[in-house]
Structures are given as structure tokens and as C-alpha cells.
């Protein structure tokens, strides 16, 4: 938690003044019982109505001053904590943007989203409450004890005993229940998980007629949750009664010993009442503190999670890389004995890859799931760093490029067709910020997306909903392809990105790319033999190794694995024909 306090930097004044004003307010509150004691001891005893009115006015004034201080404190706390949240959010987002795919795979994007949103919000609330209340409660407790001390030294002993006992009770109850609340939360999560699972899997569950078993399992979990809730509730329900008993025991003591002291003349009746009041104030302050601790515990758990992200450093950086000049005019991409594994201990996902893609060539990559196709192509834009060997783009090792220069050369169409909220035009401009409508339309045409966009009443201004919900899978894929084409890069990577297209459109698309864009180096990753068979070179991947390299015909002749794939997808006659 404290590590994050640096984000209060621009708000030092507010962070200091806030609590100070809060303490001033508390001071006013502490004066109230003294004034009341004066009203009783002097006003009533001597029958001075005027004095009573003056003191009454003082009370109202104290209230007003307190209100003013408290509002000021509140404003400063709001300012500072929102400033804190804003700065933290900005910084965290920037930090996340430096991550390579490695880190993103490791943490998972959904976690990152929660850290960015609810965790930061919690931390922000924590800071706000901290500034508002954290100093106030102890201050009131101490202030009340001091006030008691000023009234009567001996009776202060009651305060000195009661306050720690109260503190201890609160501490015990909370240290019992807070960790158990996380346990409860886990059980709540489990119940939620079961619910979600059952909704998503409703067809399978009914197909296997497992409804009754699912209900049983759910009931077990719901019961279990309830029992834990009740048990934990039993202890936390002790808090109020226990503190009530202690405070009243103290009041009892104050009255008794107060009586004794009054009898000897060291104390007045009004002062006894003041002492009783102070005792109640201590209780209120400690209860507020207990609530605050709950909030702070949550906030500090959140800040631990946020700090975890900050601690994580990108494993792939372009620091100190200056603009490079291309040194190879013939070859676009060269892999030299490249091996790769996702994490140090793990198996190699790719091993010993060697191949060259000449400028303007189309390279097909075929292989099964987990054979390393996607991994291979994500090394080219340096989403990951090769573990061994080197990758050259235009003759220069990718590690020597600044990210923007390297990635400007390459357009990637990812497997998952992702579009962003905004118009079609906005999405197309991702590739090239200053793309004209003409360029966009051309790209849409090549990507076979022009027709359906033109059919829309708003054309390029058609709004795309989040995740492209208002489009079909095939439409989304074609738009992501168009987006990459708009970029006018030197290298185009299609990572199994036509899977939702029917064969006809897929074929037209490939034809258009080949005919319309000259000099482009294309990588086509696919499981369909038809998609790669016209490539200049096909790489057959199996278990991270290249087990075949050549044209469709060459591979049919000398790569049995490739032939096997083709036989399952094409007719025997076709394969025979191609082989000749």
C-alpha cells in the first residue's frame, strides 16, 4: 500500500492538510463535553441563564467550525485520492503497454483488466478513507484520554485500561473474521462458477442427463457456503455486544469512582457527565476505526496485486535501438537456426528452424495444432524473442530494430478476429492513421469485404459494436484482413485468419492479394491444404520442427505427412494429378 503512495506526489498539500483539518474537527468535538460540563457545573448550579445561552452558542459555533473543517478535509481527500487513482491508472496502463506477449500470456488479459479497474478503484477508496479517517480515530481516542487526564488524573486510569481492552476486542474479532471473509469469498466464487458452468454447458448436461447430480453438487456448495457464513457471522456478531459491555463497565467505574472523588471534592457532577461522554466517544471512534481497517485491508490486498504487475518487467525491449538500414534487398525474412521455448524450464516449442522468404514470395505454413505455426510467425514482429538463433528482416536482426520500425514493416492478421468499437473507418485506420477512403475501399475490395460494407446504409461509417458483435465471424475476419492491407506493409502475415470464410471467398481473397499487391511477402498459416497449395514455398511443421519444405508438388512427392494431410482434404484424383 505504502509503495503506491508515491502517486500522491502532486497532492502532497492536500494529503497533509486533509488529515490536519480532520484533526481540528476532532478537537472541536472533544471540547463539547467540557462545555457541557461547564453548563451543568456553573450554569445550573448558579442559575445563570445568560451563561447557559452563551455556552449554547459556543456549542453551535463548535459544530459550525467542525462542519467547515470536515468539509475542507473531505474535499482535500477527494482531490488527493482521485488524483492518486488517475496517476496510478495512467502509469499502470503505460506499464502494461510495455509488456511483450510473454508477460501477457503469463498473467492473462482478464487479470490485467481487473487490476486496471476494480483493484485500482479499491486502492483509491482506501486512500480516500485513509486520508479522511485514519488519523481521526486514534486522535479522538488519545484526545479523550488527555481530556480525561485534564479533568482528573486518577480517573484517567479507567480510560487507560478500557481503551486497550476495546482495541484488543476489535483486533481479535477482526483478525478472526477478515481472513475468513476471503474464504467465504472463495466459496461464493465457487458457487458462481458452478452457476456459470451449468448455464454454458446446459446442453451437454442434459445430453448426459446429469441434472440431478449437478443440483446435488450445487446444493452441497451452497450449503457449505451458508455454514461458513453463519460460523464467521457468529464471531463477528460478538463485536458490538462485547464493546458495549466494556464501555459500560468503564462508565460504571467512572460513576462509582467519580462518586468517590466528588465526595472528597476533587471533581464536580458536570465533570462526571463529561467523562461518561468521553467514554462513548472513544467507542464510536474505535468502531469507525474497525470499519476503516476492513476497507484498508481490502485496499492493501489490491495494491499488492497492482504492485505485482509493476514488478513484472517486459522481457522483450527495444531500449537503445536506433533506426536501422536494410542490408538485404533480396530476402525479406530469414530464420537462422531458430529455437524457442515459452519459459525456461519448458519444452521447445520450435527447434532448429532454418528458412528464407524472398521478397514477394508467398510462404505457406501448414501443420497441426500445437505444431508451432502461430509461434513461428509471432517471432517475426518480435512479439517474443527467439531463445536461440536469429531472425533477420531485410537483413537486420529483429532485436536491433526499434519496435515501431519493425512492426511498421509487418501487418498481422491474428487468428482471433478482433475489431474495436467505432466505425469501420476508425478500425481501418488502425493500420494507417491517415488512410484515405480510397485506400480503405481498395483494401476492403481485396479482402472481399467491400460488398457487405456497401450494403450497409452507413457504409464506412457503420458502427462496429464492442468485439464486433454486430458482425458475423466471416465478416469480422474479412475486416481484420482489410485492416492489415490498409497498412501497406512489406510483409503480410495471415495467421489461420480465413477459417470462418467459405472456400469460395477464401480462394478469391488469396487470389486478390496475389494479384493486387505487388512485391508483398505473404505468410499464410492454415490447416487447409487448399489455402497453401499455390504458395511459392510451403513449410510443413510438426512438433516445432520443419519436416518438409518446398512447393505443393515437391512436398506431395517427398513429404509423406503432407501427402497424408492432402489426402484427407482433397480427392485422391486431385492429389494424384498434382503429384505429377
Amino acid at each position: 500500500m505504502f509503495k503506491l503512495f508515491k502517486y500522491l506526489k502532486g497532492y502532497v498539500l492536500q494529503s497533509i492538510l486533509g488529515p490536519l483539518f480532520k484533526m481540528t474537527e476532532a478537537t472541536f468535538e472533544l471540547i463539547v463535553p467540557v462545555v457541557m460540563a461547564k453548563i451543568i457545573d456553573e450554569g445550573i448550579k448558579n442559575g445563570e441563564k445568560h451563561f447557559i445561552f452563551v455556552m449554547g452558542a459556543v456549542l453551535v459555533l463548535l459544530g459550525l467550525l467542525g462542519l467547515a473543517c470536515s468539509l475542507t478535509a473531505q474535499y482535500f481527500a477527494a482531490k488527493a485520492s482521485m488524483g492518486f487513482g488517475t496517476a496510478l491508472r495512467k502509469d499502470l496502463y503505460h506499464h502494461i503497454n510495455t509488456f511483450s506477449h510473454n508477460e501477457i500470456d503469463h498473467i492473462g488479459t482478464s487479470t490485467l483488466v481487473t487490476r486496471m479497474t476494480s483493484d485500482i478503484n479499491q486502492a483509491q477508496t482506501g486512500v480516500n478513507m485513509f486520508l479522511r479517517l485514519f488519523l481521526r480515530s486514534p486522535f479522538i481516542v488519545i484526545g479523550a484520554v488527555i481530556a480525561a487526564f485534564l479533568i482528573n488524573v486518577k480517573l484517567t486510569l479507567i480510560f487507560v485500561i478500557a481503551s486497550p481492552v476495546l482495541g484488543l476486542i476489535i483486533y481479535l474479532v477482526m483478525s478472526y473474521s477478515i481472513p475468513r471473509y476471503t474464504k467465504i469469498q472463495k466459496k461464493v466464487d465457487r458457487v458462481s462458477l458452478l452457476t456459470r458452468e451449468n448455464l454454458v454447458g446446459v446442453r451437454v448436461i442434459r445430453a448426459f442427463s446429469r441434472q440431478d447430480e449437478e443440483i446435488c453438487e450445487f446444493k452441497d456448495n451452497a450449503d457449505n457456503l451458508m455454514k461458513t457464513q453463519i460460523i464467521v457471522g457468529r464471531i463477528s456478531a460478538l463485536l458490538n455486544p462485547a464493546t458495549y459491555v466494556v464501555v459500560n463497565a468503564a462508565i460504571l467505574a467512572i460513576i462509582w469512582f467519580g462518586g468517590v472523588t466528588v465526595n472528597v471534592g476533587d471533581l464536580t457532577q458536570g465533570e462526571v457527565i463529561a467523562l461518561v461522554n468521553y467514554m462513548s466517544q472513544i467507542l464510536l471512534a474505535l468502531v469507525a476505526l474497525a470499519n476503516l481497517i476492513v476497507i484498508l485491508t481490502k485496499a492493501s490486498a489490491c495494491s499488492v496485486r497492482i504492485n505485482e504487475i509493476f514488478k513484472m518487467k517486459s522481457s522483450v525491449t527495444d531500449e537503445n535501438n536506433a533506426e536501422v538500414k536494410q542490408t538485404d534487398r533480396e530476402n525479406s525474412v530469414v530464420f537462422k537456426n531458430v529455437s524457442f521455448r515459452y519459459n525456461m524450464g519448458g519444452d521447445y516449442a520450435l527447434s532448429g528452424l532454418d528458412f528464407t522468404a524472398k521478397k514477394g514470395q508467398t510462404i505457406g505454413i501448414i501443420g497441426g495444432t500445437g505444431s508451432g505455426k502461430s509461434t513461428l510467425i509471432s517471432l517475426i514482429p518480435r512479439f517474443y524473442d527467439a531463445t536461440e538463433g536469429e531472425i533477420l528482416v531485410d537483413g537486420v536482426n529483429v532485436k536491433e530494430y526499434p519496435f515501431t520500425q519493425l512492426r511498421d514493416k509487418i501487418a498481422v492478421v491474428p487468428q482471433k478476429a478482433v475489431l474495436f468499437k467505432g466505425t469501420v473507418r476508425d478500425n481501418m485506420k488502425w493500420g494507417k492513421a491517415d488512410a484515405t477512403d480510397e485506400e480503405i475501399n481498395k483494401a476492403l475490395e481485396i479482402a472481399q469485404a467491400k460488398d457487405f460494407i456497401e450494403e450497409k446504409p452507413d457504409g464506412l461509417d457503420t458502427m462496429i459494436m464492442q468485439n464486433g458483435r454486430n458482425l458475423s465471424g466471416g465478416q469480422r475476419q474479412r475486416l481484420t484482413i482489410a485492416r492489415a492491407i490498409v497498412k501497406k506493409s512489406e510483409i503480410l502475415i495471415l495467421d489461420d485468419s480465413a477459417s470462418a470464410l467459405d472456400y469460395e471467398t477464401d480462394a478469391k481473397l488469396r487470389k486478390a492479394i496475389a494479384n493486387e499487391i505487388k512485391g508483398l511477402t505473404v505468410f499464410i498459416v492454415s490447416q487447409r491444404a487448399a489455402a497453401v497449395r499455390n504458395a511459392d514455398k510451403i513449410l510443413v511443421l510438426d512438433d516445432g520442427k520443419i519436416i518438409g519444405e518446398g512447393t505443393h508438388r515437391e512436398l506431395l512427392r517427398n513429404c509423406p505427412f503432407y501427402k497424408e494431410i492432402c489426402l484427407t482434404q482433397l480427392t485422391k484424383e486431385e492429389v494424384m494429378r498434382d503429384e505429377k
Binding site: I40, G43, I44, I52, G56, L59, V60, L62, G63, G66, L67, S70, L71, A77, A78, K79, T86, R89, T109, L112, N121, L193, L194, T195, R196, E197, N198, R203, V204, F208, E214, M226, G233, R234, A237, V245, I255, V262, G265, Q269, V276, N277, S280, G368, T369, P381, F403, T404, R407, V418, F420, W430, Q466, G474, K487, A507, N534, E564, T568, L570
Partner: protein, 584 residues
């Protein structure tokens, strides 16, 4: 309008109360303990006041009088504490048990409603009702039970006690206090708008983050980081501005009500003191009044909070009851047949079906499937292939015509036994959170390790399962995120392999399994399909070629029907998509 809302709220309340019926003893106890604790809490200041009255000044302290008062005081305090604790225990039990019952009923209902309900309502919506709304009801009930009743009792109790001491001073308290309610509601109304703006901005922020961080890989690919950060900054700034306002204004309530509390306190102090001079009340009674004044505004402030909380709990409860009240699927006919083992005959006679009467989908579909035949269903994505599965599995009932299996119309067969005769592998691979073993044995929970291993071997997943950290005992978490999509699919196949029912439904089951494994699976399937009727929804033409009959679907309709050769000859839609594969 407003009165309708009122009656609606009342009926929701009655409904909630009906859920608490089994625990009505707890309600009674809650009320009794609340009454005891409130009454005694209010009685304690009177006792302290009495005691203080006996402490006048030097030499004038009546110890003999104080002792019995203090003893009474001590007993009162202990009983109060006890009553408070017991009340808390009762409300805890009451709330958590009621909420559990609501949860369970909703969950049971989900298992019994027709699929149509889930499909049309949307999973996300049902989910949020069953999770978020239930939580809301739980919070609302707990708060309502603990604070509403005791709050009301406290307010009236205090007034009663105060009146019994002094009417005039009581009036001061009663007149000034509502001011705090007024101020609180005034602030609440003002802040509502700011909170609305804040939560809208927050929503904007969240969706941006979800979009950008969720698709970080695409952002990277297009070097869009800086642009994204710019967009982010704009919203972040906006959030900061409206956040400060919302936070500040909402934080006004506390100091303001505290100030009014202070006013009440001063008023009581001044007028109490003056009455004391006139001898109308004693100093002890004044001190008693002062402590009432301190605690009197508290329940007022709390109750307004409780009421808001209860209102949203009611709204949530209403949404949950909509699920609990959903119509269940028609039960199996009384004389329904328990179909032990289907012979594999399936017949569709004049089948008519639609989801929405305005959009007729399947009309007069006739199909006679003999045991062991393979039926392929083909067509572009979204053509309605799943509709056929819905009908075969009887997830939906036909609107007209009849489907029969083994010569029995499906309506005369129990659903469980009908579905048990189909082995289904869907495109959306669904696995339970549980071990690999439990998942494969899902259709046959009493399967032995040998059987499960055999099925896994047949589906070619034994190898990768062995490589998992704990083999068959590895827990697949969160819908199986720790294994790949292809591996999930293999597990789903193994799950069917274990049961080996006489009929199979395969929904593009092999689409994300690598080609090599697919070949092996194809072989396993061929073995499995031997003598089994099989419906295959597939993109791969190679799988379709061998089918005995092909149903070609488009936009929800079955547009062509026949064997591969017949359809090619016909030169229709099928011929077009078939030929296009070999274009270029």
C-alpha cells in the same frame, strides 16, 4: 403508476417473506431480542442519570443509593449485550438460510426449464441474476433484518422514554432531527446525478480497458500503444474530474448530519439546563437526555440507508423470482418408454419447426435414417445446423410433425433415455471444473480407471493426459483454460467414447484438432460409428463424401437433400460450395 409500483413491491416483499417461512421462529426471536436490547439500551442512560443525580457535590454523594442502581445497570448491560448477540445470530441464520434456498431454487429451475428459456433470455442475463442479484438480496436482507426493525424500535422507544422524562425537551429533539433526514435526502438527490456521470464514465473506462488490454496482442501488432494511451488519458482525466465531484458531494452527508446532531445536542443542553434551573428536571435526567440526543439521529440516518438498500434488494429479488417462476418444460408423458438401447432407426415425418412463428424455418422435413447410416449436415456458418441437433436431442420440441427413434415417437420416450442413446460432441467444447477423470467419466460416473483410460486411448488423449502435472487427477480449471482447445475437444470425444451410445451427433467436432490427430480420431470414429447411426455437422467435405445422406442447409432451411453424387449432379447450392473449394 406509483401505486402499481407499491403493490409490486409489496408482492415482492411477500414473496421474500414466504421464503423465510421455514425459519419464522428466527424472525420471532429476532424481534423479541431486538425489543429487549433496544429497550434496555434506552434504559441504561436513565440509570446512569439516576446515579449521577446522587452525586451532587463534596460530601453530598449517596453511596447507599448508588450501589443498587449500579447493580441494576450492570445487569441491564449484560442482558443487552446478550440480546444483541442473539439477535445477530438469528438474523445471520435467517438471512443466509433464506438466500441459500433462493439460490438453490433458482439453480434447480435452470435444470428444469426448456432450453428455449435459456437461449432467449441469454446466459449473461441469467447469470447476473443468479449471482449479482442474489448477493444484493443477501446484503439487503441482512441489513434489513438487523437494522430496520431495531432502528424503528429505537426511534419510538427513545421518543417514549424522553416523553416520560420531559415533554418540552423531547419536542426540541423531535423537531430538529427530521432536518437531518431532509439534509441527507437533499444531498443524496444532488449526488445521484454525479454518481450517474461517474459510473457512466467508469463504464466507458472499463470498456476501453477491456478492449485494449483484452486485445493487447492486436494493439502491439499495430503499434497502437501510444494512440491507446492517448484515448485512455482523455477518459482518465474525465473520470478524475467527475470522480472528485461525486466523492466530495457524497462525503457531505456524514459531516452534515453530524452537524445537525450537534445542533440537537446543543438545543437539549441549553433548554435542559434552563429547565434544570427551574427545577423541572434533574442534572442526571439531563445527562440521560444528552445521551439520547446522541443516539437518536443515528437510527434515522441508518434507516434511510437501509431503505435504499432494501429497494435495490427488492428490485433484485424480483429479477430472481422471474427465473424461479419460469415455466418448466413439460414433464415426460406418464407412460413414456424407457428406451434401453435404440436400434438406430430415426425417422423425421413432416417435421415443422420455428423459434419465432414469424420466421418459419423447417417445413415438412422428411428423412428416414436406417441403423448405421451417416447423415451429414452442411451449409455456411449460421445456417441453422444446430437447430437439427436441438430437435434430435429434444432440446426443443417440434412444432409440427413427428420425430421417432426406434419406432417410438420421441414424445413417448423419457428425455433422459432418449438423450442417453445419443453421443454428442459439440463445437463449443464444454468441460466441467473437475479432474480429467471426472470429465471423461461424466456420462458414466461409476466408470473404472481402466474404462476411462481405454476411452482416452481411443480418443488419442491418453498421451497428453499422462504429460499433465497430475495425469488423470489434474484439475481442469475455469472451463479448461489450462489445456488447449484441441485437447479440450479430444477430452469431449473421450467422454462420448466411454459411453458408446448407439447414435452419435458430431458438431464440427474435429475442426480445431490438428490434421494428424484428426486422422487417428477419424479411424477411431469409423470404428465407433460401425453399426451406429450418425449425424455429422461438418465443414470438411472429405467427411461428408462418405455420408449416406447430406442435408444442405442455408439460413435455417433445409434446401437440398441427397447423396454426394446426387447433389453434384443437381448442380445446386451444394455443388457450388463443393466446387469452390478447388477454385484458384
Amino acid at each position: 403508476m406509483k401505486s402499481r409500483k407499491k403493490t409490486e413491491e409489496r408482492s415482492v416483499l411477500m414473496r421474500i417473506l414466504s421464503f423465510t417461512k421455514p425459519y419464522s421462529a428466527y424472525i420471532v426471536f429476532t424481534m423479541i431480542f431486538a425489543l429487549i436490547s433496544v429497550a434496555l439500551t434506552l434504559y441504561a442512560p436513565i440509570l446512569t442519570g439516576d446515579a449521577i443525580d446522587l452525586i451532587i457535590e463534596k460530601g453530598k454523594v449517596d453511596f447507599a443509593g448508588i450501589i443498587p442502581i449500579l447493580i441494576k445497570f450492570a445487569v441491564t448491560v449484560v442482558i443487552t449485550a446478550l440480546a444483541q448477540w442473539l439477535m445477530n445470530l438469528c438474523t445471520n441464520k435467517l438471512t443466509y438460510m433464506t438466500v441459500r434456498d433462493i439460490r438453490e431454487q433458482a439453480f434447480e429451475k435452470i435444470q428444469r426449464v426448456p432450453l428455449k428459456f435459456i437461449d432467449s433470455q441469454g446466459q449473461g442475463d441469467i447469470l447476473s441474476r443468479m449471482i449479482t442479484d442474489v448477493e444484493q438480496v443477501s446484503d439487503g436482507l441482512l441489513m434489513g433484518f438487523t437494522q430496520l426493525f431495531s432502528g424503528i424500535v429505537t426511534i419510538f422507544g427513545t421518543i417514549g422514554f424522553m416523553l416520560s422524562i420531559n415533554v418540552k425537551i423531547t419536542l426540541i429533539v423531535v423537531v430538529i432531527t427530521p432536518l437531518s433526514l431532509f439534509v441527507a435526502s437533499f444531498i443524496a438527490k444532488r449526488t445521484f446525478n454525479m454518481f450517474k456521470i461517474q459510473s457512466e464514465t467508469r463504464g466507458e473506462m472499463t470498456s476501453l480497458i477491456e478492449e485494449m488490454v483484452g486485445n493487447q496482442k492486436v494493439v502491439k501488432a499495430f503499434s497502437y500503444e501510444d494512440d491507446a494511451e492517448e484515448k485512455f488519458d482523455v477518459i482518465n482525466k474525465k473520470l478524475q474530474e467527475c470522480g472528485v465531484k461525486a466523492l466530495f458531494y457524497s462525503a457531505l452527508t456524514n459531516p452534515s448530519t453530524r452537524f445537525i446532531n450537534g445542533l440537537v445536542y446543543s438545543g437539549v443542553g441549553v433548554f435542559g439546563a434552563i429547565s434544570a434551573i427551574g427545577g423541572n428536571i434533574s442534572v442526571g435526567q439531563l445527562s440521560c437526555f444528552l445521551s439520547y440526543a446522541n443516539q437518536y439521529t443515528k437510527p434515522f440516518n441508518e434507516i434511510s440507508g437501509v431503505i435504499t438498500e432494501l429497494q435495490s434488494a427488492f428490485a433484485s429479488a424480483k429479477r430472481i423470482f422471474e427465473i424461479i417462476d419460469a415455466k418448466e418444460q413439460t414433464p415426460d408423458a406418464e407412460n413414456a418408454v424407457e428406451l434401453e438401447k435404440a436400434d438406430g432407426r430415426v425417422e423425421l415425418k413432416d417435421v415443422k419447426f420455428y423459434y419465432d412463428p414469424k420466421i418459419p424455418l423447417i417445413e415438412d422435413l422428411n428423412l428416414k435414417v436406417m441403423p448405421g447410416q451417416r447423415i451429414a449436415i452442411v451449409g455456411p456458418t449460421g445456417c441453422g445446423k444446430t437447430t437439427i441437433i436441438n430437435l434430435l436431442m429434444r432440446f426443443y420440441d417440434v412444432v409440427g410433425g413427428e420425430i421417432s427413434v426406434s419406432g417410438y415417437p420421441v414424445k413417448e420416450i423419457t428425455r433422459d433415455s432418449l438423450r442417453g442413446n445419443y453421443g454428442m460432441v459439440l463445437q463449443e467444447t464444454w468441460l466441467k471444473t473437475g479432474t480429467v477423470f471426472e470429465n471423461i467419466a461424466y456420462g458414466k460416473p461409476d466408470a473404472t480407471m481402466e474404462e476411462v483410460e481405454a476411452a482416452a486411448k481411443a480418443a488419442h488423449c491418453h498421451g497428453f493426459i499422462k504429460r499433465l502435472p497430475k495425469g488423470y487427477d489434474t484439475v481442469l480449471s475455469d472451463e479448461g483454460e489450462n489445456i488447449s482447445q484441441g485437447q479440450k475437444q479430444l477430452l469431449c470425444i473421450a467422454r462420448v467414447m466411454l459411453c458408446l451410445p448407439p447414435m452419435l451427433i458430431l458438431d464440427e467436432a474435429t475442426s480445431s484438432i490438428d490434421t494428424r490427430t484428426e486422422i487417428l480420431i477419424q479411424q477411431a470414429f469409423d470404428r465407433m460409428m460401425e453399426g451406429r447411426t450418425c449425424f455429422i455437422v461438418a465443414h470438411r467435405l472429405s467427411t461428408i463424401r462418405g455420408a449416406d445422406c447430406i442435408l444442405v442447409m442455408d439460413k435455417g432451411h433445409v434446401i437440398e437433400k441427397g447423396t454426394h453424387e446426387e447433389l453434384l449432379e443437381k448442380g445446386g447450392f451444394y455443388a457450388k460450395i463443393y466446387n469452390s473449394q478447388f477454385a484458384v
